[in-house]
Structures are given as structure tokens and as C-alpha cells.
């Protein structure tokens, strides 16, 4: 199975080449190397995928090398190829390739692109570890690896403290989640004696789990979900994702929209059989997901930074996926993951083009009317928006409605309501974004003050672009990938046409074998298989479409030709709401006051008292004592080498004589 | 080791005899070379050279010149410089002669011969580490030069000696390295075994490892401080090098040491690269039966070795009168930057080839 190894190693090789050998080489070279690596990887992935389909999508594991083999604990570097990981690897490498191509154009003003592409390739490698790993340890390696790469890339413009801080924040918040994940792993090994997915699957599929194990599974799933909340930016650990927009836009597209943030969903789907066994956890998951979806959506309503809007929309979409998992509709979650990867990457890249066109201006209120400047971008962006707001027959429609439907039957009207409202908000802010950016008349006189993430960077531009202030369409190397992604966003929905609309859900069929509801939990989940009246399903579908249309209509009315005057009145009339929303519910402030500050104080105390006074005190004390003693006796020292040697000899002879006498 | 009395006596006596013969033979080298060193350049420069001295009224092409020179050398007045380190001043010539003679003892001058039912090797001592022995002893030759220069309390002498010793040390390394491939090829440190291995032309060292021969040749010249490497006695720069302050017998001793070591190295070269006492195309050891009286083969073999050595001696003289002197840094560069790496490469390459042959 050489293709698998090629797919796994090509990004690493690319990273190594860029990072170690080609540091001095011109940008184009490093770009080509990175893209080449990705293309090779993607080609290999396709062949692996087809091969997998050829033999019926049966899970197959491939051993790279033995890794941890300590006592009973056994975690080899083993990779699994089955329907789920096959899909994920296609997403990762495919979209990764497109974004790599795009990144070349986006980063062409950078001086140290080799660094960028090194990190990017490395990220893809780690993501593949995460996706392909056959046991929790390998997955954890990838898990941490992508975390690292995301940290590096968020802080890519580390000359600006904000970016560095954002990277730090992402890293630390993820740490909290990772601790949960680690504990999950520990518990898994503690109770099942293995961390291998396939073995776990067999073990649980065999049934016959005593109460202890069931209870354990509850905790395990909970811990793992904590990890997922960290990585997939759920409440309460979502705060890092909006700040992560400090990184270059391709990074936001690849890592913080398409791939990494979906790791949590992937992990839960991978272990669905365990989650099925823990209804309590599932409820928590569902609620958290729904809450996140709504919460983030409401915040996104009033953001002015184009990337921030997209960021919060990502969070809320992730909320949808988690909600799907929570109600046991893992395939729906993965389907939405898939579609979302397409259209969110598309929108981020589109936003990136806009930002480039606006000379790194990110404030939507300074944009507008870009349609005539950059038609291609406008077109693809429009497709993206239609997809995400769930306009039939674009991709978003099918996946989102799948989720909403499952939420209804699984979680009841309340959950569905939350989801629907969130969907409405989504349509609103997305259309708002579209209008503010592309319609109305151009509000941005060239580029004003730069209060965006990379001020330093922007200043660099200042004289690069002082010649032409007009926004301009980007080159084909940048809109090419966009077009492809747009086609996908429009098209992939048809993979999952629900039965009620006459289609038979190919995607669901495809993923069925991955999903396994253990005997023990059958009766709790039978609603998933149960049949419902089509009218109900159709009705809900129509309802959500109506909501969507209403919301977007409102948005068009309000923002169609620039922000309407009435908005100001509203802002003034109910300031509390507006401020709360625009300040993201003061979550960051809350965390800072209640978590960050105490930690800092403790650290301060540990340093200033424990370390300096006690530890250093002890060490220095010893030194001082030695100095004192030495000083008091050093006058005996003659400094003559011979004298030392003589004393040595005398002692030696004494020892010798003792030896002989005995 | 248990030798019986008569066996022991035979070995002992034979050793003594061999050594005395060898010593006498080596003592004949300088006078001969004296003449050669004066006649050959004469021929090379289209002049007569010393051809007058003779016995009574027979000229004998000036053969007696050698005798005359020797006598002159020996009967000169002896002057010991002021402030010299007496002991070492007198000891130095010994130090320079002694190694040359020691090395000469290890070289096989002919095939073994049978005396009273005992095999007597035709080398004074038969060592299974003949090579190492030779290197070890030749490395002692440095002391004669160094001490001479230092003891005779003269700056030219000291500089000359320092130059000479540095040069000799530097070129011992290529000398040794050049011979390692030979050891690898013939698989023995025993010179006699090596000679016996070189039965035909194509098995001669020069054909099996030409680079070694090249290196050895150059190092040989440097070891004996001969032109083009005779910087230690560069008349132009340092009056006469380390033996500036020496005259009469002691000078003769240095002279002896130099020529003997030249001769010994020539013998070594012919032993290692030109088949020693082997005569191409037939086995000298078979001669005994052919002619029917023992020792003929040994004599013939000895003769062939002598011929080859003579060729090298002539080469010395030829080169001396043909090639100009190196500059000191050039000398050191050649030694350290070219010959040693080349030697290393040579060793490795030979080893690889041998391994390939071995494992094939």
C-alpha cells in the first residue's frame, strides 16, 4: 500500500524541504514545493480512496512501525483506512491542495514564505496523522501536532504582539481541552486495556459490558468531548477561534474552517459506538452544540470585521455538527462537516481575496460595491453564501436540514428551535456580510487606518500599493481554487438528498458501516431508524427555508445599499443588547477576570516567593557556605602540584599496605 | 623454543656471520657512492669527472678516488665546537648510523639456505613483523639529526636539524601508508613472505599497487634528505645543515649513515615493489638442483636484489643532478596535503578491491 505512505509522507517531505533546505530559495520555489507535495499527497489519497472502495470499504489497518510498547500498553503507529478516514483524507488533502495554491497568491508579498509553507505542509501531515491514526495515541499525536501548527500559523506575523497573544491563547485554550482528551485516553486504557479503535469497536460490538464499563464509558465520552470542545471551538472553550483570525487568511480557511476544527466531530464519529452507549453525555453534547450554534450566530450578527463574522459563523456551524453528533446523527454531522469544509473554505478564501483587494482592510463598513471591481470573487462568494444559508439546492441546505431534522426527532422541538433560530441568524449575518462587502457603493477610500490584526504587515504594504488605491480583482492563481470550491459547494449537496425529496441519501449509505449502535443502547436510539410521516419532515424543511428567506430578506432590506439609517436608531434605542453582542457577551473579559488573572497571580507568587526566596536561597546558601569554608581553610593550600601528588602517593601506599596486610 | 645445543650454536654462529658480512657490505656502500656521485654527474654534464687517481700507474678509471676520499675524510683534524653538548655531540653520529644498520638486518637478501640440515634465512633476523620493525627503527633516525643539530650549538645546525627532523617525521607517515596496501595485498608483515609471493612480473608490488610505489619513491627521497628534499643541508640557506659543525670521522659517520639508509631503502623498495631476490620467469630456489651445488640460488637471488637496489641508488644520483630543490612550505604541503590524503585513499581503495575479490 505504497500510496498510503506516499500520501502520509509527501507533506512531511515538503515541510522538510521548505524548512531545512530551501530557506534561501525564492518564494516561488517554496510555493511550488509545497503545492507539489500537496498534489502528490492528494493524488495518492484518491488512489487510496478508490482502492478502499474497490474492496468494499472494509476497514484495513496498515502498520508503519511499533511505537509505544510498554507492558500491557501497546500503541503502534498504525493507520486505518475505512470509509470515514477515507473521506476525511480526501477533504484534508483536496481542500488543502486548493488552499496551498491560493496561498501562493495571497502570501506573495511576504518575505519568509518558506516558513509559512513549512508550517502549512506540516499541518497537513499532522492532520493526516489525526485522521488516519488507528489508535487514540496516534490521533493524539496528530491532535497536538495540528494544535502546534495552528499556534505557529496564527502567530505567523509574530512581530505584532496581538498575533502572538492570539496564538498563545489558541494554544492554551486547546491545552484545557487536551487535558480532557488525555484523561479520556487514560480512562479508555484503564477500562478496556487498549486504545486501538478497531479493537475497541470489536470489544464493544461484542456487547456484554458490565455496569462498571458502562459507567466508565460515560466518563470517557465526557472527557473526550471536553477535548472536542477545545479543538472544535464549542462552548465554553470557543474563545480562541475568533482570535485565531489573526493568522493569514489561507490559514483561517484551511485550519480554522475546513479541517482542524472538525477534529472533534471526526473523533466523536470515529468513536460513535462509545458515544451511543452514553446517553447522558450525548444529551450534554447536543445541548452544548445547539447553544454554541445559537450563541455564536448571535454574536456574528453585529461584527464588523469580515473575518470575525466568518469565524463566529464557523463556530456556529461547528455547533451544528456537534449537535448532530449529540442526537446520534453522526453521518449527518460528517456530511455537514464535508459541505461546510467546502463552502466555508470558499468563503474564507473569498474574504481573503477581498482583503487583499482592499489592501488588508478587514472592516466591512469600509468596503462595499466590490462587485464591479472583482466579479469573479463576487460570484463565487455568492455561491458560498447561498450554500451556507441553506438555499436549496446548494450544499448547505441538505446537510443543515438533515441535522435539523435529526435534532427534531432526537432532541425535541426545543433543540430544533435553537437550531432553526441559529439558522435564521446565519442567513442574516451572511447576507449582511455579502451586502456590505459587494453591494452598495464603495465606502472605503483606498485604505484608511489599519486597526486590523497585522498592522505592521499592512504598513509594509503602504508604499507597495500607494500607486493604485482602487480595489482590484485577484489573479487566476487565487480565484481558480475559488471557482473549484464554488462548484463543489453548489454540487456536493446532492450526495445527501434525503429520501423525502426522492433522493436516496448516498452519503448516509456510504457512512452507514462506520456507525455502530451497540446492542446495549439499541432501544434508546431506535428513533434514528424509526419511520416518520413525510409531511412532518417536509414541514420542518419548509419552515427552515421560510425562516432563512425571511432573515435574509431582512438583511437585504437593512444592508442592501449600505447600512440603513434605521440601524443607528436601533443601536441607540437598545444599547445594552448591541453592546453585549458586539462585545461577544463579555466572555473574554469574564475568563480574564476569573481564570487568567488568578493564574497569573499564583505564578507571580510562585516566582517571587517560592522560587526566588526558597529555591534560589537554598542554592546560593550552599554556594555561600562552600565559599566561607573554603576561604577559612584555603591558606593551607600551597598550590604546588607536587605537594598534591605526594599526599596522593602517601595515601596510596597506606591503602596498598592495608591491602597487603589483610 | 627449545633448541638443542648444536642447533643453537648453528643459529648463533650463522647470525653472527650474516651480520658481519652485512656490516662489511654496508661499509662498502659510501665509498662506492662517493665515486658514483662524482662520475655520473660528470657524464651527465659531458665532463670527465675524477678519473686520474689510480694504483701506481694504472688509472682504473679513478676507482681509487673513493679510497682517497675516504682516507682524507678519516685523517682530517677533528674540531669540537666551543659550548657544544659534548656527550651528545659525540653520540649523534652513532644515532644516525645505528638505525640504518638495524634496518638492514631485517631485509631478506635471498632465499633460505640449508646449512647442516637447518634452514638459515638470508636476513640477519627473521621477524614476522619485518615491516613494523623497519618503520620503528627508521623513525629512530630522526634523533641522530636532531641531537646533532642541537648539540653542536650552532644556529644553522639547529635550524637544519629542526627542518630535517620535521621533514622526516612528516614523510614517515606517507612512507608507512604507501606500504600498507602492500601488506594488505600480500597479507603479511613478513618481508620474506612478501618476496616469496612475488613470483612473476605481474605479482610485483609496482604492478599491483603503483600508487604505493609512487608515494614510496617520493617519501624515500624525503626520508633520506636527498634532493629535491635536501632542505636540511641547503647550502644556500643554512651553511650545511645539521652537520655543519661536524668534520673528519664524525662527518664520515653521517655520510655513512645517509648512504647506508639510502641503500637500505633502495633494498626495501626493490624487495617490496620489484620482487626482492626473485628473478622474473624462473625460481632461483630451483637453481640449487639445476646446478647441483647448494647456495647458488641464494647467490643469484642476492645478485638480483643487488641489481635492483643499484638501480635505485643510481636513481638517487640521477634525480639529485636533475631536479631543483623544493621550498620548505612546498615540501610540507606536498607531504601533508597531497601525499597523506592520497595514501589514505590508496589504502581504502585497495582494501575495497581486496574485499570485493574476497567476497566474490
Amino acid at each position: 500500500m505504497t500510496a498510503l505512505w506516499i500520501m502520509l509522507l509527501a507533506p512531511l517531505v515538503g515541510a522538510a524541504l521548505n524548512g531545512l533546505l530551501l530557506r534561501k530559495s525564492p518564494k516561488i520555489v517554496s510555493h511550488l514545493v509545497a503545492v507539489g507535495a500537496m498534489t502528490v499527497s492528494f493524488a495518492a489519497a484518491v488512489s487510496v480512496f478508490l482502492n478502499m472502495l474497490k474492496n468494499g470499504g472494509e476497514p484495513q489497518t496498515y502498520l508503519a512501525f511499533e511505537w509505544l510498547d510498554a507492558g500491557g500498553f501497546h500503541a503502534p503507529f498504525k493507520y486505518i483506512v475505512d470509509r470515514l478516514s477515507g473521506l476525511m483524507m480526501l477533504v484534508v488533502t483536496g481542500i488543502g491542495t486548493l488552499i496551498h495554491i491560493y496561498a501562493g497568491g495571497y502570501m506573495h508579498e511576504e518575505s519568509t514564505t518558506y516558513r509559512f509553507f513549512t508550517y502549512l505542509n506540516l499541518f497537513v501531515f499532522m492532520m493526516l496523522q489525526l485522521v488516519m491514526g488507528d489508535n487514540l495515541m496516534v490521533m493524539f499525536v496528530g491532535w497536538e501536532g495540528v494544535g502546534l501548527c495552528s499556534y505557529l500559523l496564527i502567530g505567523y506575523w509574530f512581530h505584532d504582539d496581538n498575533n502572538a497573544a492570539a496564538g498563545m491563547k489558541a494554544f492554551l485554550v486547546n491545552r484545557i481541552g487536551d487535558i480532557g482528551f488525555l484523561f479520556g485516553i487514560f480512562l479508555t486504557y484503564r477500562h478496556f486495556g487498549t486504545v486501538s479503535f478497531s479493537e475497541l469497536r470489536e470489544m464493544i460490538g461484542a456487547g456484554a459490558l458490565d455496569a462498571v464499563k458502562l459507567g466508565a464509558i460515560g466518563w470517557i465520552t465526557l472527557c473526550l468531548f471536553v477535548g472536542a470542545t477545545g479543538k472544535s471551538a464549542q462552548l465554553p472553550l470557543y474563545v480562541w477561534l475568533p482570535d485565531a483570525m489573526a493568522g493569514p487568511t489561507p490559514v483561517s480557511a484551511l485550519i480554522h474552517a475546513a479541517t482542524m476544527v472538525t477534529a472533534g466531530i471526526y473523533m466523536m464519529t470515529r468513536l460513535n459506538f462509545m458515544f451511543y452507549l452514553a446517553p447522558m453525555t450525548m444529551q450534554i453534547i447536543a445541548i452544548v452544540g445547539a447553544m454554541t450554534a445559537l450563541f455564536a450566530a448571535t454574536i456574528a450578527l453585529v461584527q464588523s470585521d469580515i473575518k470575525k463574522v466568518l469565524a463566529y459563523s464557523t463556530v456556529s456551524q461547528l455547533g451544528y455538527m456537534v449537535l448532530a453528533c449529540g442526537v446520534g446523527a453522526f453521518e449527518a454531522g460528517v456530511f455537514h462537516l464535508f459541505t461546510h469544509a467546502c463552502f466555508k473554505a470558499l468563503m474564507f478564501l473569498g474574504a481573503g481575496s477581498v482583503i487583499v483587494a482592499m489592501h488588508h482592510e478587514q472592516d466591512m463598513f469600509k468596503m462595499g460595491g466590490l462587485r464591479k471591481y472583482m466579479p469573479v470573487t463576487h460570484a463565487v462568494f455568492l455561491v458560498g453564501v447561498l450554500a451556507i444559508i441553506g438555499m436549496p439546492p446548494f450544499a448547505g441546505f441538505f446537510s443543515k436540514d438533515e441535522i435539523l431534522w435529526k435534532a427534531y426527532i432526537g432532541g425535541g422541538p426545543v433543540i430544533w428551535g435553537l437550531g432553526a433560530v441559529a439558522a435564521g441568524c446565519t442567513s442574516f449575518y451572511m447576507v449582511r456580510l455579502l451586502c456590505l462587502t459587494f453591494y452598495g457603493e464603495h465606502r472605503g477610500g483606498g485604505h484608511g487606518d489599519h486597526h486590523d490584526a497585522h498592522a505592521v504587515h499592512a504598513k509594509k504594504e503602504h508604499h507597495d500599493h500607494s500607486s493604485h488605491h482602487e480595489p482590484h480583482e485577484t489573479g487566476p492563481d487565487m480565484w481558480g481554487p475559488l471557482v473549484i470550491l464554488a462548484i463543489m459547494s453548489a454540487g456536493v449537496g446532492f450526495l445527501g438528498v434525503p429520501h423525502v425529496l426522492g433522493g436516496h441519501n448516498i452519503f448516509e449509505e456510504y457512512l452507514k458501516p462506520v456507525i455502530m449502535i451497540p446492542e446495549a443502547a439499541k432501544e434508546h436510539w431506535e428513533f434514528l431508524e424509526a419511520s416518520y410521516s413525510h409531511s412532518l419532515e417536509i414541514g420542518l424543511m419548509v419552515a427552515s427555508v421560510v425562516i432563512m428567506i425571511m432573515a435574509s430578506g431582512t438583511a437585504i432590506v437593512l444592508y442592501g445599499r449600505g447600512p440603513a439609517a434605521v440601524l443607528g436608531k436601533w443601536k441607540a434605542s437598545l444599547p445594552r443588547v448591541y453592546d453585549t453582542l458586539s462585545n461577544k457577551y463579555y466572555v473574554d473579559e469574564f475568563y480574564f477576570a476569573n481564570i487568567v488573572q488568578p493564574v497569573r497571580d499564583t505564578a507571580e507568587f510562585l516566582w517571587s516567593f517560592v522560587d526566588v526566596k526558597i529555591v534560589d536561597g537554598a542554592v546560593n546558601g550552599v554556594g555561600e557556605m562552600c565559599k566561607f569554608i573554603a576561604g577559612s581553610v584555603s591558606f593551607k593550600m600551597t598550590g604546588s602540584v607536587h605537594r598534591h601528588a605526594m599526599v596522593l602517593v602517601v595515601g596510596l601506599v597506606c591503602l596498598l599496605s592495608v591491602l597487603v596486610i589483610n | 623454543m627449545g633448541l638443542t645445543a648444536d642447533e643453537f650454536t648453528i643459529q648463533f654462529i650463522s647470525t653472527v656471520v650474516k651480520f658481519s658480512i652485512l656490516a662489511v657490505m654496508l661499509l662498502q656502500v659510501p665509498p662506492v657512492m662517493l665515486l658514483v656521485e662524482r662520475r655520473i654527474p660528470a657524464f651527465m654534464q659531458r665532463r670527465k669527472g675524477p678519473n686520474r687517481v689510480g694504483l701506481f700507474k694504472f688509472r682504473l678509471y679513478g676507482v681509487m678516488q673513493a679510497l682517497a676520499d675516504t682516507i682524507k675524510l678519516i685523517f682530517k683534524e677533528e674540531v669540537v665546537p666551543e659550548g657544544a653538548q659534548k656527550v651528545f655531540y659525540h653520540l649523534a653520529p652513532v644515532f644516525s648510523v645505528f638505525p640504518a644498520f638495524l634496518i638492514a638486518m631485517a631485509i631478506p637478501y635471498g632465499p633460505d639456505i640449508q646449512v647442516l640440515g637447518q634452514t638459515i634465512p638470508l636476513s640477519v633476523v627473521r621477524l614476522d613483523v619485518g615491516f613494523l620493525f623497519i618503520f620503528a627503527i627508521s623513525s629512530l633516525a630522526v634523533y641522530g639529526v636532531t641531537i646533532a643539530g642541537w648539540a653542536s650549538n650552532n644556529k644553522y645546525a639547529l635550524l637544519g636539524s629542526l627542518r630535517a627532523s620535521a621533514q622526516m617525521i612528516s614523510y614517515e607517515i606517507p612512507l608507512g601508508m604507501s606500504l600498507i596496501p602492500i601488506v594488505l595485498i600480500y597479507g603479511s608483515l613478513d618481508l620474506n613472505k612478501i618476496v616469496e609471493a612475488q613470483t612473476t612480473f605481474l605479482k610485483w608490488g609496482i604492478f599491483l599497487s603503483p600508487i604505493s610505489f609512487l608515494l614510496f619513491l617520493i617519501a624515500m627521497f624525503a626520508e633520506t634528505n636527498r634532493t629535491p628534499f635536501d632542505l636540511s643541508e641547503a647550502e644556500g640557506e643554512l651553511v650545511a645543515g645539521f652537520h655543519t659543525e661536524y668534520n673528519s670521522t664524525k662527518f664520515a659517520a653521517f655520510f655513512l649513515g645517509e648512504y647506508v639508509s639510502m641503500f637500505v631503502l633502495s633494498c626495501l623498495a626493490s624487495t617490496v615493489f620489484f620482487g626482492g631476490w626473485q628473478v622474473p620467469f624462473f625460481d632461483v630456489r630451483a637453481l640449487d638442483q639445476l646446478v647441483g651445488l647448494p647456495g647458488v640460488g641464494a647467490l643469484v637471488g642476492f645478485g638480483s636484489l643487488l641489481m635492483k637496489a643499484a638501480f635505485f641508488m643510481w636513481l638517487y644520483v640521477w634525480v639529485r643532478w636533475t631536479i631543483p630543490r623544493f621550498r620548505y612550505d612546498q615540501l610540507m604541503n606536498l607531504g601533508w596535503k597531497y601525499m597523506i590524503p592520497l595514501g589514505l585513499i590508496n589504502v581504502v581503495a585497495t582494501a575495497l578491491v581486496l574485499a570485493a575479490v574476497w567476497f566474490k
Partner: protein
């Protein structure tokens, strides 16, 4: 055959002489030479013992000792030169930097 004890006694004598040199000569180079002498005494013991009990490890050890001795001499002499450059002497009566 010569009994091995003789060799040991010879080694003892050499060793002690070297020790005297190392202890009572004030010239660092002399000290180094004396150390070489001591090392050689040890070598002699190695060879003789190896010979008498009939195995080769003794000689191998000698080879390693010689290697180490060579390195020691090289580095030591380099240090002597450095010392001489710095203080203009190699007499240990003068070189007493550690005097309290």
C-alpha cells in the same frame, strides 16, 4: 624461561623511578616524561603477565595504553607550550596559581 616475577620486579623499579621523577622534578616536561616512564612500567607488567598466563589481552591493553599515552603527551605538551607563553616558565615552583 625467565620467571614472570623478574619482570614484575623490573616494572616495580621503573615505576618507582618514574614516580620519583614525577614527584621531585620541578620541570613540567620532566614530570610528563616520568609519567611516560610509569606508563611503560605498567605496560611491561601487562605484557609479562599476559605472556605468563597465556593470553593476548595484556598486549591489547598495552596497545590502548600506548594510544592514551600518546594523546596525553600531545595535549600535555600543548598545554606546556601555552603555559610557557603565558608565564614564561614551566617550573612548578613558580606556577602555583592555586596557592591560597
Amino acid at each position: 624461561m625467565v620467571p614472570v616475577e623478574f619482570y614484575f620486579m623490573l616494572a616495580c623499579v621503573i615505576f618507582t623511578l618514574g614516580l620519583f621523577g614525577a614527584l621531585f622534578r620541578r620541570n613540567i616536561i620532566m614530570v610528563l616524561m616520568s609519567i611516560e616512564l610509569m606508563l611503560n612500567a605498567v605496560n611491561l607488567v601487562f605484557v609479562a603477565a599476559g605472556r605468563s598466563i597465556g593470553n593476548l589481552d595484556g598486549q591489547i591493553m598495552v596497545l590502548f595504553v600506548i594510544t592514551v599515552a600518546a594523546c596525553e603527551a600531545a595535549v600535555g605538551l600543548a598545554m606546556v607550550i601555552a603555559l610557557f607563553r603565558k608565564y614564561g616558565t614551566v617550573n612548578t615552583d613558580i606556577l602555583r596559581l592555586l596557592r591560597g
